[in-house]
Symmetry: C2
Subunit: 208 residues, 2 copies
């Protein structure tokens, strides 16, 4: 939809800003803006301020680089968590996903990306040095690599594995196998092949 010059510049500006977001086109942007216009002024004030404050006031944890409102995030400063295990993830979104499984009680390390020569991202662009620093500092027994099972993820896993080798720490990766609820018939061969190679004793599958 084109916008004629008559349209309010304020409206046009708001539509343009919405349309910059990923997955939001101009039609959706206009729909959202018209929705906000119909609401009380307090609604758009709250929305606008939440966005401005988010970016202005947000911190990243100095230890694990997770998002935080303070210098050290609540996860790193929680004494009830297992501080001998670090789970390495690509982004803060994966921290939330793993926390939601309620299966992990250790700490995290957010890389802020993965090694991807195609995108010009090398080891020094992500938080690998600080991970090595944490392990070198002692007290860590296991590092769990929880990156996506892609070529970039595997490259990053291998790089970290080599970097951590001198410290004698246990390095593990997420199990790869058939997804729960999947039909075996439609599972890809590589995944199925790995799940046969890494088959588990049946009684172990009852461990929580």
């Amino acid at each position: 939809m084109d916008f004629q010059p008559f349209a309010s510049p304020l409206l046009e500006n708001a539509v343009n800003e919405f349309a910059k977001l990923p997955g939001i086109g101009r039609k959706t942007a206009l729909r959202l803006v018209l929705h906000l216009l119909r609401q009380e002024e307090s609604v758009s004030e709250a929305f606008g301020n939440a966005i401005i404050r988010l970016r202005r006031e947000v911190h990243y944890c100095k230890v694990c680089h997770n998002i935080s409102d303070s210098e050290i995030c609540p996860l790193c400063s929680d004494p009830s968590r297992d501080d001998t295990t670090i789970c390495v993830v690509e982004n803060i979104k994966e921290v939330m996903v793993i926390e939601n499984t309620r299966q992990y009680r250790g700490l995290y390390h957010v890389l802020g990306g993965i090694i991807s020569p195609m995108d010009g991202i090398g080891p020094s662009d992500i938080e690998i040095e600080s991970l090595v620093g944490r392990v070198a500092g002692g007290g860590i027994k296991e590092v769990i690599l929880a990156l996506s099972p892609t070529m970039e993820g595997d490259t990053t896993n291998f790089y970290i594995f080599r970097k951590l080798a001198p410290y004698g720490v246990k390095v593990s990766i997420l199990a790869r196998g058939v997804s729960i609820g999947d039909e075996l018939e439609y599972t890809d061969e590589v995944t199925l092949g790995r799940s046969i190679l890494n088959r588990l004793p049946f009684d172990e599958t009852f461990r929580s």
Copy 2:
């Protein structure tokens, strides 16, 4: 996706605000917020301010109730437009759609809704009185009713038609018929029936 209490309240607040928008769920909201977090601070400042300013500074034209940055909108104050014709629409979005056709050079009147007893919207809740006032003021030759062809639209059309009857102004509605590009085979019977009843002389279809 649940949010554990550890997540940054700033993040949670921004996600909640996004998720209030129509058609945006919590997963999409989180994706948009994480996108904004990755941008420069200036990006989220511009976005937030555009939204706050929009609602705070926007005006509605005193004459036609279209959105405007001034008291009288650029359409109403444009001397090149035909000020003897008023096109009645439900919302400002329809003004944009009709302007984009470039087939109309008259003025508008934005009702801000249509009569809908189911939603508790009566004639006094929308800008019908001010439309009657404009017609009563004289100088108007034709009022074009451009509401959606729904039951509520037809009810509103009929109500306005009756209200304008004393002023001897020509009242017309948008032609209803088969859409250009539609397959006749799949056109609904009511539309097809109307388009037969209101068939046009073939040479008239070349006008304008």
